[in-house]
Amino acid sequence: MSNSTNIAEFTGREYQYGFVTDLETDIVPRGLSEDVITLISTKKQEPEWLLEWRLRAYRHWCTLREPRWQNVTYEPIDYQDIIYYAAPKQKTSIASLDEVDPEVLAMFDKLGISLAEQERLSGVAVDAIVDSVSVATTFKERLADVGVIFCSFSEAVREHPELVRKYLGSVVPFRDNFFATLNSAVFTDGSFCYIPKGVHCPMELSTYFRINAADTGQFERTLIVAEDGASVSYLEGCTAPMRDENQLHAAVVELVALDNAQIKYSTVQNWYPGDAAGKGGIYNFVTKRGKCAGINSKISWTQVETGSAITWKYPGVVLQGDNSVGEFYSVAVSANHQQADTGTKMIHIGKNTRSTIVSKAISTGHGQNTYRGLVKILRSAEGARNHTQCDSLLIGTECGAHTFPYVEVKNSSAEVEHEASTSKVNEDQLFYCRQRGISEEEATSMIVNGFCREVFKELPMEFAIEAQRLLNVSLEGSVG
């Protein structure tokens, strides 16, 4: 792989995914009410218990106020001005890729994730979501052979209601927080993944989310369950078209790992960050949480956040099972006027539970980057360990990096370590590279990529390369 070609390739390029596909869209009226929720539920032919769950969430949400403690600023969101459901119209359900709306396929081509190509070349099963409805699911049969269920959330509700009912809200209850509660009331689709006992999922599972219709809030719901001794690696990648209005994305991701199970969840997020003046862009307010319910289980979050106008998320792990392990590896970039308030929560409940946090924050332009992390060791967590490392890199003089580590320890046998550093891209390093013939821009990219290496090495290979490219795109013009 060559960073130099990446730079040349991306130099001077606008947000690459800023196009709108003209799909015929089926939408519900603007705004939120019990009627709208009932309509969504009816359109999706959901069982009564799920509608009831949504309505309870909605009623609870009506009593909540939008939180304001985070270190970001944005215009108030008018929740009655959002369209909560938009599905591309399709005549019938799809048996193969050939039947997928050609416009949809063309859009994926533009995104560089042609399903046909993915299917043929990469062996990655992609559950592609265009505005709330899953349009094509591949590799299903191969997964079915080993008993893995990987499908859209709607399909899971229809085909595996007992599993959905058992685990939905078991990690992020509908009362959890303002945005999770909103999501519980109005979520339209998402991914569902179930790995049965002792099965190692034979391929990386991957979902590309895409926000397409104007003014459509996207409320995805992802649920991944790994039974005893099962393991899975899951990648979520995101892009959104360029628009002037800010768009709200309030997703919920729940992971459940039972005894000896392992879940690795990787996110490469490059949603539209707004233009150089700070106009437009996605608000990414997401609740992600994993529960290490069983002994010796492990949940690992890896995130590369280069997009969104505002990123506000704390993928966390509840370490309930004894000897369970939680990991969080993060690269967050704030360029131009982007704001990121992100970090993790590690809640130690079981004995000898361990957690590792590695956060790399890069700020450039007017970007503001905040690491906010909570390490909580409960009384029961005998012998718990945490190691936290927070590094910030500043490029330029207008940007900022902030760190808010919270540590609560109730058990004296716990060991908690916190390391933090803030540095600037160093003139000496730049000169050293340039003296060797490497351009200033490429040198910066190289130094920043080096800074992120600890996190990138946690990503599956092909996504690590994608992450590097995204990073280079985000840093364009930060030098000189």
């Binding site: 130099s4 000169f431 060797r436 190289m446 290496r453």
Partner: protein, 259 residues
């Protein structure tokens, strides 16, 4: 090949180079010696294009007006600086760094880039030249390198990039005698009739191994003595105190010590 005329360089109000003249022809090795603070490293950095100096005067190099060029343009034109204090770049693999540098320079000459496999072959030969350990390949640039390793890495980079003008800034500092021998033999292997070298040093010791064609003594920002190898030996015996009237009285020259 390299013609320096009336070169002045200052940082703020402090003038460090005060009208330096120097001519180096292809294939020649010139040693620049001088006491601390005489401007030796400044000369190296000014030639390499470091931005934090105010510079006046003329530097012609291979038909280029060197002073108007960016550091990377100078590198592409064949100027190489072996740093006195090479910097660490955490997380950036040494092999990757060096291949990127080589390909940047090759692109500058409209040559095809060298692929990873081809590069691996190339570097193995060059590594043998400076007795560099295989583990070098997987390590980050200069990170956790010993004093000897960073200097050998500089010479290794020089061997790979094949510059036409190599400036070695205090390459002997911090080296024990064995490491010095390795580094010097690496440098000697790279001597040829086209490549010019500017060897900056405090000590005559290095010049036992890298025998210069000319020795220049720099004091207070000017060349005050020029001679052959024997000049270095006389300096070793008498120190820099006896540099004549050309040394500035307000900045007394001191006896050279390793830094």
């Amino acid at each position: 090949m390299l013609e320096i005329e009336d070169l002045h360089a200052s940082v703020g109000d402090t003038e460090i180079l005060r009208g330096l003249d120097l001519t180096v022809n292809p294939g020649e090795v010139h040693a620049i010696m001088g006491p601390n603070g005489s401007g030796k490293s400044t000369l190296a950095h000014v030639l390499a294009g470091r931005g934090n100096f105010d510079v006046t005067g003329q530097v012609h190099y291979d038909g280029h007006d060197l002073l108007v060029m960016s550091p990377e343009e100078r590198a592409i034109a064949g100027v190489f600086l072996a740093f006195q204090h090479p910097i660490e770049i955490p997380g950036v693999g040494s092999l990757y760094f060096l291949r990127t540098a080589l390909n940047s320079i090759r692109r500058g000459h409209s040559l095809d880039e060298v692929g990873p496999v081809e590069f691996l072959k190339l570097i193995e030969d060059k590594m043998a030249l400076v007795e560099m350990d295989q583990s070098f390949m997987s390590r980050s640039v200069n990170e956790g390198f010993s004093g000897g390793e960073v200097k050998r890495n500089e010479i290794l980079q020089m061997a790979v990039l094949e510059p036409s003008l190599a400036i070695l800034d205090e390459t002997d500092s911090g080296l024990d005698i064995d490491a010095l021998r390795v580094v010097a033999s690496g440098v000697n292997a790279l001597r040829n009739e086209k490549r010019a070298m500017l060897v900056i040093t405090h000590h005559q010791r290095l010049l036992d191994y890298i025998v210069p064609d000319r020795v220049h003594v720099l004091a207070a920002g000017r060349i005050v003595r020029v001679g052959g190898k024997e000049l270095a030996i006389s300096l070793e015996e008498h120190g820099y105190v006896d540099l004549g009237e050309t040394a500035r009285p307000d900045q007394p020259a001191t006896i050279g010590t390793a830094t």
